[in-house]
Every structure is written in C-alpha cells, then in structure tokens.
C-alpha cells in the first residue's frame, strides 16, 4: 500500500495518514527535520522535547482529569527493568497496635486515633501514622504497629529501620524507642535500646492513653 493522507471516513476521524508497508510514518517541521516518527511496530518517537499540558496515562491508565502529571494503572504492572518506574499510589491506611499478635479490647480515639498515610513509588512504600489509645485492652506480649498498607519484601532475615517520631504515656521505659520492619511483614516491631541490645516493648510498658507517631519507608 502506498503512503497516503485522506479525510476520515467516520465522524470521529478527521484525518488519516498512512505509511507504506516498508517504512515509518514521519511528521517533519518546515525545515524538513523529522519531529515525530511512528514505526511499523507502532513505537512513537519524539525527536525533541514533548509537552503534555495536562496528564499522561501509562500502562493503559485513564489519565486523571484533575491537575497535571502521570497517571499509572490502578493495579501495578510490574517491570523487571531496574530503570523503569512502574507504580505510583498514595492514600490512607488503618494503623493499629497488637500485643503478642492480638488486640483484644484495644480501642482508639475516634477518627484520628488510627490515622496513617502512605505513598508508594516503584518498589518502596513511604508511610507515617499517629495512634492514640483509649484502652490498651487485655492482650499481652510484644508491641507492634499493625496494618501497614503493603507487605514488605520477602528477602530472608532483612530488617529495615523505621522511626518513632514522638510518643506519650508509655510506662517504665529505660531507653529510646526503636522500630523495624521484618521481611514479608505488615507490622512494625517496637523495641527499646539498652547499652548492648534492644528489647521488646511489651504491653506492660503501654498505658490506656499511649500515643505514638511513627514514619519510615520499606521495600516491597
């Protein structure tokens, strides 16, 4: 088929430019320089910079109608290429606490007592939370922050350090609080420092009005 330019044949098609079967379709500037090329494999190449005044959808995502930026698919389309940004998502999450893996009778301040924010960029999740108890309940054992928005990566025995930014109303602490996320986990372990190691914070260190703010990031 020879190259052609024709008027559209349907109401939604204004102009049709068709390359011949042996070559790409090119748009040239008035000095003859190629500005845009569409290959026979439908790959589009801009010779210069490209400007998108609003939003750009990738991976089949519908471009957002608000603001300007890049819209990613609602469900990640993971890339195995180390140089490819393949996901972006932001939102809120439900933070909580458990003692020994349970949270019997634990209650929180309404609305703001379990508040969490997250942003996922590629394979890393950035998170923060504020937790305010109104009752620590009856469960016993090691304290954990629960409900992380994504499960951490599954590399064996790899922990990522997190930050306890501020806290109130713990009981009997003897060292600074530390936080870490283990592999394949959706919880944050809370410990306190001693001269030589870290030990678990258990229910006995927590009161009915304990308040924790924490943040960090982890790989998924």
């Amino acid at each position: 088929m020879a190259s052609s330019i024709s008027a559209g044949t349907t109401s939604s098609t204004a102009l049709v430019a068709t390359a011949d079967t042996s070559g790409a379709l090119e748009l040239k500037t008035n000095n003859g320089t190629t500005a845009l090329t569409i290959s026979t494999a439908q790959a589009v190449t801009f010779a210069g910079t490209a400007t998108f005044p609003t939003t750009l959808g990738v991976g089949g995502a519908t471009p957002s109608t608000s603001g300007s930026g890049i819209s990613f698919p609602a469900t990640q389309s993971a890339s195995s290429d180390a140089n490819t940004l393949d996901d972006y998502e932001e939102g809120t999450w439900t933070a909580g606490v458990s003692f020994g893996g349970n949270a019997v009778g634990v209650t929180y301040t309404a609305t703001t007592g379990q508040y969490g924010l997250y942003t996922k960029i590629g394979n890393r999740v950035y998170w923060s939370c504020a937790i305010r108890l109104t009752n620590k309940g009856s469960s016993t054992g090691a304290l954990k922050i629960t409900g992380l928005p994504f499960t951490s990566q599954s590399v064996i025995s790899y922990n990522e350090a997190q930050v306890i930014a501020y806290y109130e109303n713990f009981v009997g602490l003897t060292g600074a609080l530390n936080a870490r996320i283990s592999n394949a986990s959706n919880t944050v372990d809370i410990t306190q420092s001693s001269a030589t190691t870290c030990t678990n914070i258990t229910d006995t260190f927590v009161s009915n009005t304990t308040y924790i703010t924490a943040s960090g990031s982890y790989a998924v």
């Binding site: 109608t65 998502e89 939102g91 809120t92 090691a142 394949a184 986990s185 959706n186 372990d189």
Partner: protein
Amino acid sequence: MSISKTTAVDQITVTENGIILYREATHIMEDGKELSKTYHRTSLTPGQDLTGQPANVVAICNVAWTAEVIAAYQAASAAQQGV
C-alpha cells in the same frame, strides 16, 4: 448536574504467608466524569479479629486462614521478633 460518591473494595491481595491486604477506592463523580479518586488500605494478619471488615474480605480470610496458615504465621512472627 449529578454528583455521586461511591466506595468499594477494588483490590484484595493474599500473600504467601497469609497476610491479606485490601484497598477501598472512593470515587466522586459528576455527571459520569470522575472528579476525584482516593484510596484507603488495610492489611490483616492471619488469625486477626475480623470485626467490622467488609464481607467479601472476611469471606476470603475465612478460606485463606486455615489453622496451618495461622500457626505458621505466628511461628514466623515470633521468630522474627527475636528479642
């Protein structure tokens, strides 16, 4: 002009060790055009109390959380705590 707000669980993920993650998407639409979209995520560990969770999530938890899965998760969690 018609404005509507809908919230629904649009994603449920079961991980290898039994953790279940789900996402609630809230859409605000005006005459069929999306004005905003927000997400809220929740994750549940095997054996966790499911009071107040969406019915479709509870159904999946009840299938995925066998006694063996719960025991394995708790054992792994205890081993990770390690201190």
